[in-house]
């Protein structure tokens, strides 16, 4: 609930500040607590939502519900932190990969994966990151992170995966 309020606050502040999102991001960072100690390269240790054994870069992934490309509160918070990192590392570019679990059918999942990558990108662009620094690609169900056939595995595979170039 708190994270959702935080995200709403970000959006509300963005709207009132006419998208000069610096203050919004600062606010979100303070809200996010321990998840925001982001600098340098990956330590390999889990750093909260968005980071897992498949996430090696300095910025974290976001996860989605079944057949959805809607950004939940936790995802919005993660993306806000990612945007903040992008601003303090202004020379870096990232690739956002859209992934799906392997249920459903593969052609539709290619399209769904693209929508996931694009919704993550668009959120960060609204926070002031230049669109040219955020490249998207979809893998649909072609490159699962976890090949297990259970909800835990599927949840891991429904993600926008960030790779810093």
């Amino acid at each position: 609930m708190r994270t959702r309020l935080g995200a709403l606050l970000v959006i509300a502040m963005m709207a009132s500040a006419g998208c000069s999102s610096k203050s919004a991001v600062t606010s979100s960072d303070s809200d996010a607590g321990q998840g925001s100690s982001l600098q340098g390269s990956a330590s390999g240790a889990s750093r909260g939502y968005g980071f897992d054994e498949y996430q090696t870069g300095p910025i974290g992934d976001v996860f989605f519900d079944y057949d959805s490309s809607i950004l939940a509160a936790e995802a919005q918070q993660r993306l806000t932190e990612n945007a903040s990192w992008m601003k303090s590392n202004s020379a870096r570019q990232v690739i956002i990969e859209g992934h799906c679990d392997d249920r459903g059918t593969s052609e539709y999942n290619i399209a769904l994966g693209e929508r996931r990558a694009i919704s993550a990108k668009e959120f960060m662009v609204r926070l002031g990151v230049a669109a040219s620094r955020l490249e998207t690609i979809t893998y649909g169900e072609e490159r699962p992170f976890d090949k297990g056939q259970n909800e835990e595995a599927w949840a891991k595979n429904r993600r926008a995966h960030f790779i810093v170039k």
Partner: protein, 443 residues
């Protein structure tokens, strides 16, 4: 019109009449004469299988006998695959000649085993080539239906067998068959997903691409000239169109995704592109140029498939939330929803031989099953059930069969079934996963 006469007999009139009645009521197909005096048997809708005796081809000499065995096996396998025939062993005295070969056909013997059609021939060597003289008889009418010679090189024996099988099926059903058609598909056999192709019956598997990338959704143009597919060789899913005559490759040079093509005719295909932001379906030319945009809705629009006349397109859209199948009139642009049963309906495939659409439904049970529905939304029928995930239906060119993917025995493999769901069986044995089969039209 109906020809069921006998050549001899004392009470000729009575016997003929009785035979005529028998033909009309018991025979699963009936015969009528065409203008040129040819006979075409049209199977009644829902009629049973045609009882055929395939005689061993006569041959003199070792080489010829070898050819005859291969030819006979090809024909038999092809007719079994078609699921249209009951194949009966030839009675020992089928040919009246002294050696059991040659001479005239013993129609009495054929009728006594219930054969409706007799096919037999002779294999010989002519000018270094294989020559096969085939004859087909209507055993009740004792009429010669077809007399034709097939000739080619030794390595073309399978094609000769298929050419005869195609002629036989067209003669007896009035329809073209799938002999000579190809199936293109994806396999992970080599470790990465590549395009492969095989004959209609799973024979002659060939690897088509060697990109060591991810290749998806191959589909041949109706004239067999182009192969369209999506590949990640450039780093992103891009549509490529390969001219199989000169091996030139075109791509759709647009940003964003470009997936899942379908040919509308020999010179136009449709695919999903996202360069304008939302995923929409566009008509594309074989050179990769965009002809026009077809859909305009927020959300995913993907997986086009066309009616045989190219006037209507079925496709998948998430415009109402979960994916459902819609039909768009190509001229007016008017779009209507086709599927209302099931929460997740994708992968439509329009029959090239009628107004039926096959598709897959992800069901509440977790199974994915193949359904078929009329283009007007009536006649919904489930074709697979109780065997895990069954996906990617694609029709044979004559509409009599459907090839699809199933993981019912573990990994994803290719299967075929009759268009009513009967006789489901593996198409081919191959390592790795096989998926996304697409059956070509006639070649």
């Amino acid at each position: 019109m109906i020809t069921c006469g006998m050549n001899s007999g004392t009470s000729k009139g009575v016997i003929t009449s009785l035979l005529l009645l028998w033909c009309l009521f018991l025979s699963p197909f009936f015969l009528h004469a065409e203008e040129q005096g040819e006979y075409i048997a049209i199977r009644k809708q829902g009629g049973g299988k045609i009882a055929v005796v395939l005689d061993r081809s006569a041959a003199k000499g070792g080489k010829e006998s070898e050819w005859a065995r291969e030819f006979d096996k090809t024909v038999k396998d092809g007719l079994v695959f078609s699921n249209l025939f009951t194949i009966l062993p030839p009675p020992s005295n089928v040919r009246a000649g002294s050696d059991g070969k040659g001479g005239s056909v013993n129609f009495g013997a054929l009728s006594s085993v219930g054969a409706e059609v007799y096919a037999g021939g002779a294999v010989s060597k002519k000018g270094g080539k294989v020559n096969i003289d085939m004859e087909v008889y209507d055993t009740f009418g004792t009429k010669l239906l077809l007399k034709k010679s097939y000739s080619g090189k030794e390595e073309q024996l399978r094609s000769l067998g298929h050419a005869f099988s195609a002629d036989l099926i067209e003669l007896l059903t009035g329809k073209k068959s799938f002999f000579g058609s190809k199936i293109v598909f994806i396999s992970s056999k080599s470790g990465s997903k590549e395009v492969y192709q095989c004959d209609f019956d799973g024979y002659g598997v060939e690897q088509v691409t060697s990109f060591r990338s991810i290749s998806l959704t191959p589909v041949l143009s109706p004239d067999g000239r182009y192969l369209a597919y999506t590949s990640y060789t450039s780093g992103r899913p891009t549509l490529y169109i390969k001219n199989l005559h000169d091996n030139k490759v075109s791509s759709v040079a647009k940003n964003g995704v470009s997936v899942d093509p379908a040919w509308r005719n020999a010179s136009e295909l449709a695919t999903t592109l996202s360069f304008e932001g939302d995923q929409e379906i566009y008509l594309v030319r074989p050179d990769g140029g965009i002809a026009r945009r077809l859909t305009n809705s927020k959300g995913i629009d993907v997986s086009p498939t066309f009616s045989a006349d190219g006037r209507q397109m079925a496709f998948v859209s998430s415009r109402n939330g979960l994916p459902q199948i819609f039909i768009q009139d190509m001229q007016s642009g008017l779009t209507r929803r086709l599927t209302y049963s099931g929460r997740y309906n994708t992968q439509p495939s329009w029959s090239p031989a009628g107004d039926k659409i096959a598709y897959s439904t992800w069901e509440k049970t977790g199974e994915i099953n193949i359904f078929v529905i009329n283009a007007d939304g009536s006649g919904l029928k489930r074709l697979t059930s109780g065997v895990r995930e069954n996906e990617s239906p694609s029709w044979s060119p004559d509409g009599s069969m459907i090839v699809f993917t199933s993981n019912r025995q573990g990994g994803k493999k290719l299967y075929v079934m009759s268009s009513n769901g009967e006789n489901q069986r593996r198409l081919l044995q191959m390592d790795g996963d096989q998926m996304q089969p697409s059956w070509s039209l006639f070649r």
